[in-house]
Amino acid sequence: MPMSPTLRNLPIERRLRLAAILICLGLLALLLTLIRIHPLAFMAFILVGCPLVAAGIGIFLYSIVSHVAEG
């Protein structure tokens, strides 16, 4: 999936910070879903927690790969 020009133009520090924030939000969502045993907790895990963490990981990997390429 092509990254947006905005993300590409960000300095690597900003990208890493964005990745860290997304991962933090996702992990927080994962933690919250473990509080209750309920089907909706599982859905929140799948539909909120995992996509946020995955997006953060994606941005992090893109950042380090593109930084090496630029360097």
Partner: protein, 210 residues
């Protein structure tokens, strides 16, 4: 000793702290050690946290508490305490013939190669019906497919009480028909009192077990 779920929470909490450290102190990544830390905190640990979380949720989805957390299942949970051994689920639950904390899953999973996966997808279908469809009244709830004898025989096959039960040997071919699911354990007027939530209002319950 911490339970696996508590360890899971501690692990995710640690992952959160590590990611937050990189988020707040991004200048750490200018050093070699900081870059390694960033790789661990923003890739390896979150991937592990997601895997552990998924595994934990899959295990929780097999618990009786999970199945009964939807209001529509209340009567089915109550039927496990009926004080009448002709109610098959109640007899199994009250006598620990199935583990109580996994009572629903033990009988309602498929004992096949991909049975667990199939059961999880069936659970997603339940969710769809519950939240995006029109959930039926408890008395109207039916299995998507008829109950397969295979699930009963997972435990009862080879069991002496099952093999030597005169009712299972009334005709010479009867045992073969039961074993091959041609004759249903439940729909052949043998073990046909299952959850029967319609009759619960007249039932008495095993109070000590609740």
């Amino acid at each position: 000793m911490l339970s696996p779920a508590a360890l899971e929470i501690v692990f995710i909490g640690t992952a959160l702290a590590l990611a937050a450290l990189i988020g707040f102190r991004v200048e750490l990544t200018q050093a070699r050690g900081g870059r390694i830390l960033a790789f661990v905190a923003l890739f390896i640990v979150p991937v592990l946290a997601m895997g552990l979380g998924f595994s934990e949720h899959m295990q929780r989805a097999e618990s009786t508490r999970f199945c009964l957390s939807c209001h529509v299942m209340d009567d089915f949970g109550q039927s496990l305490y009926v004080d009448d051994p002709s109610y098959i689920p109640a007899k199994h639950f009250q006598n620990n013939l199935v583990p109580r904390e996994h009572a629903c899953y033990t009988c309602h999973t498929d004992y096949t190669m991909f049975g667990t996966l199939h059961s999880k997808f069936r659970g997603l279908r339940h969710l769809y019906v519950q939240y995006l469809g029109t959930p039926p009244a408890p008395a109207e709830i039916k299995l998507y497919t008829p109950f397969n004898n295979r699930e009963c025989l997972h435990c009862h096959s080879g069991m002496r009480a099952y093999l030597e039960q005169p009712k299972h040997n009334k005709a010479p071919e009867m045992m073969a028909k039961i074993n091959s699911n041609q004759m249903s354990c439940m729909n052949s007027k043998c073990h046909d009192t299952v959850h029967d939530v319609v009759t619960l209002k007249d039932a008495t319950f095993w109070k000590a077990g609740q």
